[in-house]
């Protein structure tokens, strides 16, 4: 067996395990920078003060919960709200009613653009006041045009209605074929039997795919922890409705589920001073919405070309 050739005596090779100064510095610089970058990218976690409790973390999927599970969850939500707001809420899990499919009709001839619906919705549904989250956007459009590109929703005149304009409030259209539901990777949003598309705020991971998919810009994301003054909290709550949301989850109009599923009208309808908003059960042939769809000039389902088939109809009095 021959010996391997030895290295020349003038350039002795360093031992294999030794770390030279250059590579040590390089590795240290890379590691330090990498750790600093990792720490910086985790910085938002420092601002999060709403880590899930073990109970919430292990909570079952909404559709798999037994009534006992739900009772525990409702109690947990009640406790959390009481701790945060000093007020014991009435949180219910309201199920869809048999033989009911909700439809909303909005009379564009009557709407005066006063935005009472916008603010009533904020008050009723415990939406964040700072930053203000609003489910309804009232678009101001020039007369004779339906070009949404020309719409302005930051209008602020001294009084309304203004000459030469008409107003078109837009909120969740509760589509029959909702794109937002299709894209949700965790099934945290779905369509209920009465047509309302709901969100389970405890299941949402905040990926915002649904926001991107919605052609009506109807979904809102909680970038920060919602802030609601304690004295303004509406204690009449529903699990899939207006219970306070966390930072990092989506929310949207749910036709005031806490009201409509006990037979009441939504808040935006009740405050409308012009009687422009009509709501009811389309499966009841005597309801006002059935009458409107049968006898009025219902001109659009907004962006009907998207194939979403909204349950929200705009019509004119003629």
């Amino acid at each position: 067996m021959s010996k391997p050739p030895s290295s020349p005596a003038s350039t002795p090779a360093p031992p294999a395990s030794a770390v030279d100064r250059r590579s040590f510095l390089r590795t240290s610089a890379v590691l330090t920078t990498g750790l600093a970058a990792l720490a910086a990218s985790l910085k938002p976690l420092l601002e999060t003060n709403d880590f899930p409790t073990m109970e919430r973390f292990l909570q079952k999927y909404y559709k798999e919960m037994t009534p006992e599970d739900m009772a525990k969850v409702l109690k947990r939500i009640g406790d959390e709200v009481e701790k945060d707001y000093g007020l014991r809420p009435q949180v219910r899990d309201l199920k869809p009613m048999d033989g009911v499919e909700f439809v909303y009709c909005l009379n564009l001839t009557r709407c005066i653009g006063c935005r009472k619906c916008v603010h009533a919705c904020v008050a009723e549904n415990n939406e964040s006041r700072d930053p203000e989250i609003q489910y309804i956007r009232v678009l101001r459009l020039p007369d004779g045009s339906l070009d949404i590109d020309k719409a302005d929703h930051f209008y602020a005149p001294d009084s309304v209605p203004e000459k030469g304009y008409f107003y078109m409030p837009v909120q969740c259209q509760q589509c029959k074929n909702p794109p937002c539901v299709k894209v949700c990777p965790v099934h945290a949003t779905w369509q209920e039997a009465d047509g309302i598309t709901v969100i389970d705020y405890d299941w949402c991971i905040g990926c915002r795919y649904c926001e991107a998919a919605c052609p009506y810009w109807a979904r809102r994301f909680n970038f920060t922890k919602p802030s609601i003054p304690k004295e303004r909290l509406n204690p009449d709550m529903a699990y899939l409705g207006n219970r306070p949301r966390r930072q990092g989850v989506m929310e949207k109009c749910h036709f005031c589920i806490q009201r409509t599923r006990v037979g009441r009208y939504p808040a935006c309808l009740e405050v409308c001073p012009a009687g422009a908003r009509k709501f009811g059960n389309i499966l009841d042939p005597d309801s006002e919405v059935s009458y409107i769809l049968k006898s009025k000039r219902v001109f659009i389902q907004l962006k009907s070309e998207m194939g979403t088939s909204p349950r929200f109809f705009y019509y004119f009095d003629v």
């Binding site: 990218s41 603010h119 012009a274 009687g275």
Partner: protein, 456 residues
């Protein structure tokens, strides 16, 4: 370049990029949110969360005072009141219907008088300057020497009141001139009247309104002036007998010649506004609140219109229905309501007891018994529901309607409002409406609007 040096450069570049990102993250640069424009509540004229008027039908059911509706307190049954029109064919409204146009000495209090005199003397605005010039030198001297003493006030009042009343008569002309009223906010009724170019008493009324608008803090508004003749802005429908029966003023007459009572006024509106009436019958016209589901209709706290009065009727068992409700209560509940004080700071307990009692009654079989509802005028819907068989009838709905009929002024009706709840044919419409009294779950809207108005 060797592979080693390529790797070194890539790693160095990545390090630099990460370092920049780390600095950017930590300093939060570029992450600050810009301020979004506010989306305010726009129109503060529409404050009310529900309609505030009680319809004539409600008053009839409550056996309330209807003397305001009795035309024959003043008019003679045998001769219909004559109508007079001015040259523009506008109706000349009788002074009795629009209240006295002229000011009396009692209308102006001492503080208000001091305010008027101060504005006259300073003639700080065109209206005051005009009024100052209409005074004689001696009158001006009295006002210049005005002091808030009793004697001085009496003298000043004897000068100011006739000066104002002169303006009201103003030789048959409107006191309005654009330059004179620049910067003065005119009321809705003033604007409406000005569009009609009135004459006679209506003109005097207009001049009074103009003065009230010019001196909003000093002159009290004429509160009896809630009657405006002329239905619609076009001025073509200003004949009283278009709606009222001229041989019997307590009846209304639609176009088909029927006679209607005031309680059926919706049909009169419908005789001209046919499509709107059709929509209204179907629930598609006008404001509505309460329940879309006509089957499930418990009362909610904002549907108790007058809690003290309701509790009072129950505890005194002033009628058979109140007696029936009182007997449904448990002893502690009766004690709580018996001790209820309307001025109590927390009426919540009493309210809860009342809501529970009402819900319990609604859930029972029909509460109708002829003796119990004797003397109570039932509305058409419960009457037709009672004619249905017990299986078909919606008993919860029936009981709710019966309770509404039994307590018409204390409970809100969960049904379509009568036309005159929203439209008063004798008053300028929406801008003069006031917020509904009492708490409302959406009270925040009214609060916002009030603060908005205060800022303005």
């Amino acid at each position: 370049m060797t592979t080693n040096s390529k790797t070194g450069i890539t790693v160095a570049l990545l390090c630099a990029a990460f370092s920049v990102l780390a600095v950017a993250f930590l300093s939060d640069s570029g992450g600050a949110r810009g301020n979004r424009p506010a989306i305010p509540l726009v129109d503060t004229n529409f404050l009310d969360t529900s309609t505030t008027r009680q319809s004539y039908a409600d008053l009839v059911r409550a056996n309330a005072d209807l003397s305001d509706f009795d035309c024959y307190v003043c008019h003679d049954k045998k001769s219909p009141p004559p109508l007079r029109f001015d040259a523009n064919l506008n109706l000349i409204v009788a002074e009795e219907h629009i209240g006295p146009a002229k000011f009396s000495a009692d209308d102006i209090g001492s503080n208000e008088l001091a305010g008027i005199v101060q504005r006259f003397r300073g003639h700080s605005d065109p209206v005051s300057a005009f009024l100052w010039q209409s005074l004689s030198n001696s009158q001006q001297l009295v006002l210049v020497n005005f002091k808030p003493s009793e004697q001085s006030s009496k003298q000043a009042r004897e000068i100011v009141v006739p000066a104002l009343n002169n303006i009201i008569t103003n030789a048959g002309q409107s006191f309005y001139e654009p330059g004179r009223f620049k910067g003065i906010l005119l009321g809705a009724e003033t604007m409406l009247l000005m569009q009609q170019n009135p004459a006679g008493p209506a003109l005097a009324h207009l001049n009074r309104l103009l003065l009230e608008d010019a001196y909003p803090l000093e002159l009290s508004r004429n509160r009896q002036d809630d009657i405006v003749m002329g239905h619609g802005k076009h001025g073509r429908n200003n004949n009283c007998f278009n709606c009222h029966n001229e041989t019997n003023l307590t009846l209304l007459q639609p176009r088909d010649g029927r006679d209607l009572t005031f309680a059926d006024s919706a049909q009169l509106c419908g005789s001209c506004h046919g499509p709107t009436y059709r929509d209204w019958l179907a629930g598609a016209h006008g404001r509505i609140s309460g329940y879309w589901d006509r089957g499930s209709s418990p009362f909610s706290e904002d549907e108790i219109r007058d809690l003290p009065k309701l509790v009072d009727r129950w505890r005194h068992q002033s009628d058979p229905v109140s007696g029936f409700v009182w007997r449904q209560l448990s002893n502690p509940e009766q004690v709580l309501l018996a001790n209820y004080q309307p001025s109590a700071s927390n009426p919540k307990q009493a309210q809860d007891v009342v809501l529970q009692a009402l819900s319990k009654i609604i859930g029972e079989p029909s509460i109708y018994q002829p003796d119990r509802f004797k003397g109570i005028l039932l509305s058409p819907e419960p009457t037709s529901l009672m004619q249905q068989s017990q299986q078909d009838a919606n008993l919860a709905r029936l009981n709710r309607l019966l309770l509404e009929d039994a307590f018409p002024l204390e409970l809100t009706r969960n049904q379509r409002k009568v036309c005159v709840n929203c439209h008063n044919p004798h008053a300028p419409p929406f801008p003069s409406r006031k917020p509904a009294p009492g708490p409302h779950p959406l009270r925040e809207i009214a609060d916002m609007a009030e603060s908005h108005a205060a800022e303005k």
